[in-house]
Symmetry: C2
Subunit: 477 residues, 2 copies
């Protein structure tokens, strides 16, 4: 007996896709280009009023003309034409229509609200499920479906449910640049037919998804959302950012996705009760995702901090200490071992935190780091931090070599251990001329599975958040 | 009658400078190169054991050999030799010795503490004033003295008193990249002879300094520090970051600058009572400096927010609202005027906050922004925000032109108005490939006097901090 497919399978893993408005200067062409660029594995049908050929594919002049009832249609036609288009799709046997077009309830006009109700009715009557309107739709690397040209082609276990198109792009891209890989991402807009609860239920039973991130501006059905979220939180970590949680922000959210926000206090209680992890910014969301995804969970809060720079070492220690971590003493045996290896230790601080000073860039770097990490039974987590700013102290013609030394040391340590370690490359500390260098370091370290952060406090807060999540679960809360 | 010079004039504006250890591979050469590179205007004397010529300058083999008693000596000789060197300098008539060398009280050894006491005694007995040890010394653009190769050569009105060398480099560089200019910066290390109070008293009477930033790890004389700081705060805004304010951080600070930290609660009370502005990070310090230095003070908390991107607009509104700002309605007349100028307003949100969507990059950008800002009697401050991430929506061959359009619009608005406005270029929102573009935008906008921030919350918090500072002063607090 054939198992029935979940309707949202057609959203995330359609076997065939049609794109309307697929002609030069139209938004449909952007989607078509993205799908081709990301290597979509199913059948792809451009639709435009003139037919012909687009991006090397035969174009059709209407949904009726298609040789098959496609699973998924990306719809970029004018808002007033959308309801009838959905009915046409229903007649053709299309499963899902994703409406990119804006100008519905979020427009704040009577006409916009009416049109959105029309969309809802057309969907219900024609049996088509609708994503959006006012959204970018799905990114599913497994089937090669992406709404940008630069998201990774590899899959991972993070799902991101995002009510904003722009935020789905920036957050996914930044998380991806730092090593997070996604099972699926959906920019879902006004959520007039398939809503956030439908997505959450789907992600709950989705074996490819282990961690769920949510950016949400408004909830369509409070009680169901609470139930669904609580159930999901029982099985998977859920990181959530509520956009429009202030009164002014809520007003802006109404204009953006037609969302009606409730009291923030009520929402905050609801999220806590459900067991979700609430974050205050997209930056914090990425930090938490990187931590869940890349950092082996530390067994405790004992830290070893290793870096270059006295002042940044002091501030790093403050940032971790105020997030509930502490620094045990560096065992005298390790200290002696390090000390023996160098003739002159001026500027080097052999306590915990360790300030390697310029040794971080020198030939001893690898020896220092491996000794500090591989023998680090005294710590549950090692923090590397490194600025690459040119201070005049390092002749610029040798910077490449020095950088390489430092990076190779990180990579060597990582290759030798499963111990939790992370790297903080602070924006502030890395001079403008060196930013490219920092990007390269991040790329190489991320590829090796090292979690990279851009702010010391952000890293400390994220690891604290993740540890508190596991502590709560251990306590059965 | 000749007015007597303040001893610290010889620190910040020496008429002649000698540098020890000025030979290849030695730290002295780094300082010498920096001084030459920054165009030091006084007499410059390299000292090394072999004499000869260094960087085109005649080198001397000892301080005694110099043809004149110099105002300032940068001392990079081994720690044990420093006390005698200071006595030699005294005999020669040198005014100030700045000790770069580390290995004094911060080493945490009996020997280190003893050596530092020796330095103090040598200074007192020989009449020489000592900066440091364990520091980089002064950056005074007016006389062309700098301890890096990339600080600006123009002067400004911000003084930065910094106990950490690394932090003085990263913070000054970042603030400079965002348009802040300095009267003087000092990396002052262990502060064994000239201490933080001496610097504060000097900056209090310094007409070139209007704003003071402080990074401090330990206070040598609590009561005097409190008195001096309170007096300074009466006349100038003082922004202060205390490094090592947690117990673990304080231990690290002891290893870094030999600082003994007191209770953070006591310090916090002391700073508040004195009227100083306490910040939690160097990033926040730079945000506050940029605000004091570049933003015309808003007369109230009514905001106009203008940007591209629905989700980022919602989050921007939240960030400002939770820092005590509010958004009045966009006057209908302005709304109508904007609406008339475009045939199709889909995606555009003509409320406050305004989401310009892709119009932010189009030919209408300048018209939109000038209309929104020049007629903005309804707002005290305009926030521009802009991501430059390539989402696949903008063909990459036209990105340069689009960026240019957006930047030119900002610059045009700024050139036409004295109204407070600022620009937020968020790291997260700007894709990696576009980072260089963002740097260019920042450079051009900063050069035009537009304050630029890298985090929306950071910008909101900094403007709130500055407004609260002026509100308190108006209330005579």
């Amino acid at each position: 007996m054939k198992q029935q497919q979940h309707p949202l399978d057609f959203v995330f893993k359609p076997k065939s896709v049609a794109v309307t408005g697929a002609s030069p200067g139209k938004n449909g062409l952007m989607f078509l280009s993205c799908y081709i660029n990301s290597g979509y594995k199913g059948k792809l049908y451009p639709i435009n009023s003139k037919g012909g050929e687009v991006c090397g594919l035969k174009a059709y002049t209407s949904i009726n003309e298609l040789p098959e009832p496609v699973d998924f249609v990306m719809c970029c036609i004018p808002n007033t034409a959308v309801p009838d288009f959905i009915r046409d799709c229903g007649a053709k046997g299309v499963k899902v229509v994703c409406v990119f077009t804006a100008g519905f309830s979020e427009a704040g006009t009577e006409e916009g609200r009416r049109l959105e109700l029309e969309v809802v009715r057309a969907a219900r009557e024609s049996g088509v499920r609708v994503v959006g309107p006012n959204c970018l739709g799905p990114y599913t690397p497994e089937v090669g479906l992406s709404f940008t040209v630069d998201f990774p082609s590899e899959s991972g276990s993070v799902a991101f449910l995002c009510q904003s198109g722009g935020n789905s792009v920036s957050t996914t891209r930044e998380a991806a640049a730092r090593g997070v890989r996604f099972s699926k991402v959906i920019s879902y807009g006004n959520a007039c037919n398939i809503n956030e609860c439908d997505y959450l239920e789907y992600l709950d039973q989705d074996d490819e998804t282990e961690i769920v991130a949510i950016y949400i501006e408004g909830v369509r059905d409070g009680p169901r959302f609470h139930r669904t979220l609580a159930k999901l939180c029982q099985r998977k970590p859920v990181v959530i950012l509520k956009g429009g949680f202030t009164q002014a922000g809520a007003k802006a959210a109404a204009s953006h996705t037609g969302s009606l926000a409730g009291s923030d206090l009520v929402l905050d209680g609801l999220l806590k009760q459900a067991g979700a992890i609430r974050v205050d910014s997209l930056e914090e969301m990425v930090d938490v995702l990187v931590t869940f995804y890349l950092l082996p969970t530390p067994q405790g809060r004992r830290l070893s901090i290793v870096g270059a720079g006295g002042g940044s070492t002091v501030l790093a220690t403050d940032d971790w200490a105020r997030n509930g971590f502490f620094l045990p003493q560096l065992p005298p045996a390790i200290r002696e071992e390090l000390r023996r290896s160098i003739p002159n230790e001026a500027g080097l601080i052999l306590h915990n935190p360790v300030d390697l000073s310029l040794f971080a860039f020198g030939p001893n770097a690898e020896f220092f780091l491996t000794t500090l990490v591989n023998r680090a039974d005294y710590a549950d987590l090692t923090i590397f931090h490194q600025g690459f700013g040119q201070s005049g102290w390092i002749p610029s013609d040798t910077t490449e070599a020095l950088l390489d030394n430092a990076i190779n040391a990180y990579l060597k340590v990582k290759s030798q251990t499963d111990r939790p370690l992370l790297l903080v490359l602070q924006h502030l500390i890395s001079g403008w001329d060196w930013k490219k260098g920092v990007d390269d370091v991040q790329k190489r370290c991320t590829a090796a599975g090292i979690p990279v952060y851009h702010s010391m406090f952000g890293a400390a807060k994220a690891v604290d958040t993740v540890l508190r999540y596991y502590e709560k679960r251990r306590n059965g809360a």
